[in-house]
Symmetry: C2
Subunit: 239 residues, 2 copies
């Protein structure tokens, strides 16, 4: 059985960053696939496909990381704002806040004299008091991940998983192998990229791996097909 | 002063979805700008720019929402997994877990007989016990937003804010106005879109609005410039 304490670790590769890894990886794989599909449809040479693919990886990956940065920062700011509100309420609406602590501990099964003693201890230390309100009343925990960490992990995952659909083109260029069927390989590799995400999220969370892979392949596949038509079909239609 | 209880509400437009709105909006504005820049660089007609823009909104918005869905689901699953671990530990390592509750309440300022009474009440109800371990030991709160809600809000924001850089082209087509300077207007409107996000995240979280706008314009601007070169410059270079 896993140690539950692992939730406190914040190393880049720890399970804590699984949500960012999944988010960045899925979007990276699908947008790179869209670029490869569009470039293939336009009959670009392999070096051009690769340059466009890497350009998308860097530009779209950076764009997504900027979105992640401000999104994470908004969460952190919201937490700090609620905490400031609780501090204000304790200073200005003390009796109401004491009653809220009493209600929180009554719900935990405390009553009578013991309940009053517990309320007295909690409300004797303002930090403990605010901390209790945040966790019990607002159900908010302080996120231990910084916006820089979540944005970095999103970028890393976008690049790493997003490179997979490009891999066949890079391989063909470097080793000068057959240029046939490269787009077919890109389709298969995009499926592999989505499957890796599916396997990862399932094993980390002790869920059924087959179901996890089927989910990412199904929804990711729909997104890839939409991206294919958006990037390739429409472009050719209007040219 | 705001009511802190607002954190419990889960309406689509409540502040709870600010992180998703920010994330989807920033990525929507920048990727649409990239499409508009690329299409303008390739001298496409206005209807083509609009079709490509909407195709990107739907395809990339859907791709991002799929990423968000699995990312949110991974968070929910991680919470449930840790909860199952705590249940297992209480059943199998009871004494260790009792000692952990004792340590948690000692840190809150309880001691002696009162501490023992508190530990006895908390550990008399398994739900309260597990809930305490989740909040106090693991610092995890149950996310009240479902993956469907966060993915839906991401898609909505991607479409809404992502449409803004396209607006000048749609306006020029519908009202048959001058076709000059459309790309310039798209650049300005992208700045407006990023500023809206900046204003929104600052006002909701009681932060300095000017600073919030400057942040999104600065990092979003870098991402937009990267996207511009990726979509337009490189494509022309290799053709």
């Amino acid at each position: 059985m896993e140690e539950p304490h692992a939730a406190g670790k914040t190393g880049l590769l720890s399970r804590d960053f699984l949500p960012e890894f999944v988010y960045g990886g899925i979007d990276g794989a699908i947008t790179t696939f869209a670029v490869v599909a569009g470039a293939t449809g336009a009959s670009f040479d392999i070096p051009v496909v690769i340059v466009l693919g890497f350009a998308n990886l860097i530009a779209d990956g950076f764009s997504m990381s900027v979105g992640n940065f401000f999104s994470s920062k908004a969460s952190v700011d919201a937490y700090e704002k609620h905490k400031a509100t609780e501090h204000w309420e304790i200073d200005n609406l003390r009796e109401t806040e004491v009653e809220e602590i009493r209600e929180i501990y009554r719900k935990k099964g405390f009553e009578g004299e013991l309940l009053e003693q517990v309320v007295a201890v909690i409300t004797s230390n303002k930090e403990v008091w605010v901390d209790t309100m945040m966790k019990e009343e607002l159900e908010l925990s302080k996120d231990q991940k910084s916006p820089y960490q979540t944005a970095g992990m999103t970028f890393f995952s976008f690049l790493l998983i997003g490179f997979i659909p490009l891999a066949a083109y890079v391989f063909a260029l470097i080793f000068d192998t057959s240029k046939d069927n490269l787009f077919l390989y890109a389709c298969i590799l995009t499926g592999v990229a989505l499957s890796i995400i599916g396997v990862l999220k399932s094993t980390v969370n002790n869920k059924n791996v087959l179901q996890g892979v089927a989910e990412t392949l199904f929804l990711g596949g729909i997104a890839a097909i939409l991206a294919y038509f958006a990037g390739d079909f429409l472009e050719n239609l209007f040219r």
